[in-house]
């Protein structure tokens, strides 16, 4: 029953993206093009990041947490933010409201991330006879990533697309964006530096993604009030 398990893990990893697209008004306004463009931008940023990592990083012998390397990785992670900026501001979108734009971009971004990072291990690993919990946890991680990407896109659109923001909220917006952008470094520190095992890390990711989503939702609606 191994193709069965693969199918289960695949719908856990990629299902929510499709559900999100069809459930929200995104499908009504046909924003598929935006999502696809965002996915392509993600591909481009991933390639750039790969090149930078290959030139800058050195292969470590042990699996421990090297602060200097992790710092470099975090800095390179900001290329992600740059890519998102490019996708939100530079690409030409059709007439879609800002509300839907960031959702579409975040969705495309998260889908490309899942496919790039999780499809290959799933195909190779989940079809074997041996059963592990890893792929289910990976699917949950993909869900958390979806929520995080959408919140990052929301905060990004607040930062770069909305001109009239309440002054008090601006620092909060930037700190939240900073936290969300450095999530990968935080999780790798937890896994390597503190030695948390995979389920714990996934639970932490889910929890933080939901709380970040909630906070960004509050910020977004707060910024929308004056208009």
């Amino acid at each position: 029953m191994t193709m069965f398990h693969f199918f289960n893990c695949a719908i856990l990893t990629f299902g929510p993206h499709a559900v999100y697209y069809s459930a929200t008004p995104l499908s009504e306004y046909d924003t598929l093009g935006t999502s696809v463009k965002a996915a392509l931008v993600y591909l481009g940023t991933a390639l750039v990041k790969l090149v930078c990592l290959a030139t800058v990083l050195k292969v470590s012998e042990n699996d421990g947490f090297d602060p200097y390397q992790e710092l470099l990785k975090a800095v390179i992670g900001f290329i992600d933010v740059a890519g998102l900026y490019f996708a939100l501001t530079q690409l030409i979108h059709r007439n879609i409201s800002q509300n839907h734009k960031f959702q579409a971009v975040g969705l495309g971004w998260a889908f490309a991330d899942s496919v790039l990072h999780r499809l290959a291990p799933l195909w190779v690993g989940a079809r074997g006879l041996e059963f592990t919990w890893d792929f289910i946890l990976q699917g949950l991680e993909a869900n958390a990533n979806l929520v995080l990407s959408i919140s990052l896109a929301a905060l990004g659109s607040l930062m770069w697309l909305r001109k009239n923001k309440p002054k008090t909220l601006i620092p909060i917006i930037y700190t939240c964006a900073g936290i969300v952008a450095t999530m990968p470094s935080i999780t790798s520190y937890l896994r390597r530096g503190l030695g948390w095992d995979f389920p714990k890390v996934v639970v932490f990711e889910l929890f933080t993604s939901l709380s970040m989503a909630f906070i960004s939702w509050q910020l977004f609606s707060a910024c929308q009030r004056p208009s």
């Binding site: 029953m1 069965f4 398990h5 199918f7 289960n8 719908i11 856990l12 299902g15 929510p16 559900v19 999100y20 069809s22 459930a23 929200t24 008004p25 074997g128 006879l129 041996e130 059963f131 592990t132 919990w133 289910i136 939901l210 609606s221």
Partner: protein, 562 residues
């Protein structure tokens, strides 16, 4: 829109989170967290045909769930593998199971690690005798039965012990592993075993020429020392035969070394030729010895004064036996026996004489000297065994490992044979002269014996699985060539009543599999999750009415017009 729906949306979000977490707990409770798959080396029971009748395990590939001896009674085992550790093995249970031809997916016997020649090494064996008797019985039962499912042997280690403990726990709870309840799956992916086409037996002979003076017109008399080097056991990949007949080979090599030292100097070269023979085909009625003797020149055969065959001289205390087929009153036999007894007395050990008549019409050849006797050459076998072994017994089985051999016994055996040979060659009968005394340059070398014994105890030597240019056979030839003048190798085909099948070892993969019910449950949970997510998103972004409108098309049209 979002503002008015905020309290409701928040509550729903929390509810869905709680339900997801609760379902996760249920899933975790169903299937325990598992370890990775393990892979071990396993060794198959021998498969052979004797006169057309099949024996041994007839299958090699395995792909079934595993169960231990604690399986609930009445359960169908035709698609399960039974894994039995040796200490829990009940011979009567296995015998009944096989004799009643009950169906079974496979049988895996777990041997203690100390018997493994790769990892067991020099550990001490507890309860030696009990284990030896149990293994001998098991081997006898398995080798002489026709078993229609795969049977494998393998060794305990930590991974296997945890897997076995897990399996026992599941069985005791009344949940034997099947496709619907999960558990462990044992997979051995090998091809169907094929017949070994024309198996070869390789006989190695070494010739040490005696001193021929000008006065001798005829050929010098010859003394032959022979030992068979191949083995046969329940698991051919484990049949190292340290005692049967590793001890014999080692003794022969040491005797060759000692006499080559003596013969290297013309002043001490005896007036006898020495012929050393390492024969194959021992377990199969000494087929190889027969072919080797038949290949001899008539004159050579007539010049053989007598032959001494060495068979299992590695684990005796104080008594050795000389087995003969000519009656003890025969002058030559008396001579041989007296020579050996005199030396034995000096070495403080006993030799006894056992006479067994040969029946020419019976194809069964139990001792190597019988092949000589059938061609009218005087011969005797020196062995620690007092009882004649049955066919395919005492040929190096599962229990015949390094720990069961005592090298001091071999050293004493070598001294006995070498001294009596030397006294015969140099005519010192009755005189108390020790040629191979300790501390002399001709002393028996225990280190040589020990190192060769160690090598032999790590080399399985079942003849059909040794190719013509097998490295071990070549090594034996090279070693003998270092001691003698001339070495010849003879290749023969193992014909006759035996046919063998290959595939003697394989790799076992152990997987922990989840049951089908688990997959179905997971599918239900995920479907539910996606539906909840969908409804949640529709409600928060488009409103509850939209959700209901998805399921009721006709009324929505009416609503629109209204």
């Amino acid at each position: 829109m979002a503002n008015s729906k905020k309290p409701g949306g928040l509550r729903e979000m929390l509810e869905s989170m709680y339900s997801v977490i609760a379902l996760l707990f249920i899933l975790v409770a169903c299937v325990e967290l598992c370890d990775a798959a393990a892979a071990v080396d396993v060794y198959r029971l021998i498969q052979y045909d004797m006169s057309g009748s099949p024996f041994g395990s007839r299958f090699a590939a395995l792909n079934h769930h595993a169960a231990s001896l604690h399986f609930p009674p009445g359960v169908d085992l035709s698609r399960t593998v039974l894994i039995i550790p040796l200490r829990e093995l009940n011979i009567t249970f296995v015998r009944e199971y096989i004799n009643q031809k009950n169906p079974l997916g496979g049988l895996l016997v777990l041997l203690p690690e100390v018997l493994s020649f790769k990892t067991g090494g020099n550990k001490q064996v507890h309860e030696k005798e009990k284990m030896k008797i149990l293994l001998a019985e098991l081997e006898r039962l398995l080798v002489h039965s026709n078993i229609p499912y795969p049977v494998y042997f393998f060794f305990e280690n930590d991974e296997i012990d945890t897997v076995l403990a897990d399996i026992k726990k599941n069985d005791l709870m009344g949940q034997p592993a099947t496709a619907t309840t999960g558990g462990y799956k044992f997979v051995i992916p090998t091809a169907e075993p094929k017949k070994v086409a024309s198996p070869t037996m390789t006989n190695i002979q070494g010739w040490l020429s005696g001193l021929k003076t000008d006065g001798d017109a005829n050929q010098l008399p010859t003394i032959a020392i022979v030992a068979s080097y191949d083995t046969f056991g329940a698991a051919p990949a484990l049949s190292v035969g340290s005692d049967s007949n590793g001890s014999g080979i080692v003794a022969l090599l040491e005797i060759a070394r000692l006499f080559s030292l003596l013969y290297s100097n013309p002043k001490t070269r005896g007036r006898y030729n020495l012929l050393f023979g390492l024969t194959s085909g021992g377990p199969y009625n000494y087929n190889g010895t027969q072919k080797w003797l038949r290949s001899f020149d008539q004159r050579l055969r007539e010049s053989i004064d007598y032959a001494i065959c060495l068979n299992s001289i590695g684990s005796w205390d104080n008594e050795l036996w000389i087995h003969v087929s000519k009656p003890p009153e025969n002058a030559y036999i008396k001579q041989i026996f007296e020579g050996l007894s005199n030396v034995a007395e000096e070495l403080d050990l006993k030799v006894g004489l056992k006479h067994k008549k040969i029946n020419i019409s019976n194809p069964r050849v139990a001792w190597e000297h019988e092949q000589f006797s059938r061609l009218r050459v005087t011969a005797a076998t020196l062995s620690e065994l007092s009882v004649t072994p049955e066919l395919l017994e005492s040929t190096g089985g599962l229990f015949d490992t390094r720990q069961y051999v005592n090298e001091t016994a071999i050293v004493r055996g070598v001294k006995l044979v070498a001294e009596s040979l030397a006294r015969h060659i140099y005519g010192h009968q009755g005189k108390n002269i020790q040629i191979f005394a300790d501390e002399s340059s001709l002393a028996v070398n225990p280190a040589y014996i020990r190192s060769w014994l160690d090598v032999l105890s790590q080399t399985p030597r079942v003849a059909p699985f040794l190719s013509k240019d097998d490295p071990f056979v070549m090594a034996l030839k090279k070693e003998l060539a270092g001691h003698v003048d001339e070495v010849n190798v003879q290749h023969e085909t193992l014909e006759g009543i035996f046919t063998f099948y290959d595939s003697t070892s394989a790799r076992l993969n152990i997987y922990q599999v989840a049951s089908v019910t688990f997959d179905l449950l997971l599918l239900l949970v995920l479907g539910f999750y996606l539906i909840v997510l969908f409804s949640f998103l529709v409600i928060t972004t488009r409103g509850l009415d939209d959700l209901i409108s998805l399921f009721r098309r006709p009324p929505s049209r009416k609503l629109k017009t209204a």
